[in-house]
Amino acid sequence: MTSELALKVIEIMINCSIIVQSIEYLSLKKHFSEKGIWRWSEIKQEHPVLPIFSFLLSENNFIYFLVARIVSALGLIFFFPHSFILILFLFFTSLLISLRFRGSFNGGSDYMALIILSALCIAAFFKTPRVQMGVLWYISLQVCTSYFIAGMVKIKQRKWRSAEALSKHMTSSNYNPPRWSQNIFSKKIWAMCAAWGVIVFEICFPIILTQHNPSVLYWLLAGFLFHLTNVLFFGLNRFLIVWCATYPALYFITNNFSYSP
């Protein structure tokens, strides 16, 4: 895999994610109308900078804004790959969507999408192998950091170490995991295995940076399955595609970089 191809795959995946997310927002349009929940007339009063964006983020304009994002993402996939202007547009509109929903709509997946888009912007502007390498390193380090910090936070908590936290998440009324998984994780031994499995996987994930094929593929497969179970148990579908969009960077870096002098 070349750095060019890795960036191309990342670009296609993040654009697919943007298209799906924009369609999801459009299907929730009654909630960001002036009779809905996220009313722009109220939100824009929260900070003096917000009214500047009213021409983009007010009720009806926001719908055109989302359609423009879909068109731009399709343009990047089919007609203008690596177009700096279009990627920059998607970066700024992603940032504006975060502002529209008072910081973020979907937390982590919004953060990671912005990281990927900012990196792609730089790669599209400079287009040199050295910059492309730097951008792929940046994305790889960010995704490793995300897993590592998530694992660190969990291992520091007694309730996570004793699997109480995981059992609580699985059986709480806040999520709707399948009945069979609730039965499995109500048993202490399985909950313990799963909780420590998650902690060890997340904390050890940066080890991938020292690996090559085929073990890199096993790490990435484990990551994919991890996110798949997160969709199954907690409905986190946006995380699946956005995090998997970073995997070509990891694949490229680990197979094209040697630590030996």
Binding site: H47, G103, T145, S146, A150, N176, N237, Y259
Partner: protein
């Protein structure tokens, strides 16, 4: 290069051991998507829910949607539900750091108003009330452990 990577993750461990003072800034909060925290599922306590009632019985305002196969790719209802949860977390965070003065006038707060909008999106047919409570599953639905915030009775919107 390997040493730099090891040093990078050691620094993360070091910084995670230090307790930093929380910065309260509306601008930073607005641009929080630029400063990812990656602290997923760090809350291991009961996550409260939004309840409302028109008559006597409290009802859960939003329940997690049942998962279908296409939700792996496209899940607007599920993401709306997650956004509702993030909002509850934000309200609780704001309540925790609110001064006595701010807490007294909490109904003027945008997060509080949005709670009301969340309930109104359920189209109540008569005057209603809402509250944030910690609950646990019970044989007949749920049992309330603790009430955190209760609204006054609110008028239904006449369309």
């Amino acid at each position: 290069m390997l040493y730099f990577i090891v040093l990078y993750f050691l620094l993360i461990i070091l910084f995670s051991l230090i307790k930093f003072k929380e910065i309260k800034s509306p601008t930073l909060n607005l641009f929080k998507s630029m400063f990812p925290s990656w602290k997923f599922f760090d809350e291991s306590n009961d996550t409260p829910v939004l309840l409302y009632r028109e008559a006597d019985d409290w009802k859960i305002c939003f329940s997690p949607p049942k998962l279908r196969w296409w939700h792996f790719f496209y899940n607007p209802a599920g993401n709306f539900y997650l956004a509702y949860h993030s909002h509850l977390q934000q309200v609780l965070g704001e309540l925790t750091v609110a001064s006595v003065e701010e807490a007294t006038h909490f109904q003027d707060n945008l997060s509080y108003k949005m709670l009301e909008h969340f309930v109104r999106s359920k189209s109540p047919q008569s005057d209603f009330q809402f509250k944030i409570s910690s609950i646990k599953k019970a044989p007949n639905g749920f049992a309330i452990i603790e009430d955190i915030l209760i609204s006054p009775k609110l008028k239904v919107e006449i369309v």
